[in-house]
């Protein structure tokens, strides 16, 4: 089935929604969610780049003989970038906990000792 570049547009939109949350939301946790959305969009894009129409997962255990397989590299890259995303989110949330401890709020408008 030919779907043109429609799937890529979906991934790009996911990135755009994440960026929107990151830029225009005032709550630190919502900003972290925005970053996660951007990450998900990029990962989705990576996986899509590696798809070959009609391909199966590139694993030979009990595979059908002569089967077409999708590209393995983007899957490996996505695996790496998911783990990196996990690490980033963990650190960001820890910082949010400490910002809340010091400032008593998660509102970015009230957290601005570092201006200028």
């Amino acid at each position: 089935m030919n779907v043109g570049s429609f799937p890529f547009i979906i991934a790009a939109l996911l990135v755009v929604f994440g960026l929107y949350a990151l830029l225009f939301k005032r709550n630190l946790i919502k900003m972290v969610i925005g970053i996660s959305l951007v990450e998900t969009g990029v990962n989705l894009f990576l996986v899509m780049v590696g798809y070959r129409s009609g391909g199966a997962a590139p694993i030979y255990t009990y595979a059908n003989a002569g089967e077409r397989m999708v590209l393995p590299t983007p899957q490996a890259l996505t695996l790496t970038s998911i783990v990196i995303g996990l690490a980033t989110t963990a650190l960001l949330l820890s910082f949010a906990v400490f910002v809340h401890r010091h400032y008593g709020t998660l509102d970015v408008r009230k957290i601005k000792e570092l201006r200028g």
Binding site: I59, T61, S94
Partner: protein, 157 residues
């Protein structure tokens, strides 16, 4: 929600599911070179079992069972093991897979094309899966424990 975890229903289910999740996680790590999965995925599954335990029984409930220091040491050992396996092939090149097709441990060759899959293949790959699995399960578990305990302290203060 009280400080020591969740209701009796959740605890009972957790006791039942906990072992199954652990077994599944170790299966995913062990068969990483044959079926979908591997060290990272399996490690994350095992860590989710720890997280389940933490949520159900609370930080106080698992204090004796999961030691933060032990987890941390195990994580460092896993990371060092992975680095050591990468160093193993430095006679040829860093990360050279010197056990593949060697005939010894994990050194069996595989038949070309689709096959049933044998554990004794893959050279260094299964060993690396175990090292990474150990690293990931302990790493994520210690992040979860530390953040849960730290955030709890905040609520009570």
């Amino acid at each position: 929600m009280n400080q020591d975890g969740m209701s009796i229903i959740v605890r009972t289910v957790t006791r039942f599911v906990y072992g199954l999740v652990l077994v599944f996680g170790f299966y995913v790590i062990m068969h990483g070179h044959l079926t979908p999965g591997g060290g990272f995925q399996g490690g994350a599954v095992v860590a989710s079992a720890f997280a389940l335990l933490l949520v159900a029984f609370g930080a106080a409930g698992v204090k004796g069972r999961l030691s933060k220091h032990l987890l941390q040491s195990l994580e460092e050992i896993g990371a060092l093991a992975f680095l050591g396996l990468a160093f193993a092939g430095i006679g040829t090149a860093f990360f050279y897979n010197l056990l593949a097709n060697s005939g010894s441990l994990f050194g069996a060759s595989v038949a070309l094309g689709p096959n049933a899959g044998f554990l004794n293949t893959g050279g260094l790959v299964p060993l690396m899966n175990w090292a990474v699995g150990l690293k990931v399960m302990t790493g994520i578990a210690s992040i979860v424990i530390v953040m849960l305990v730290g955030a709890r302290k905040e609520e009570t203060e």
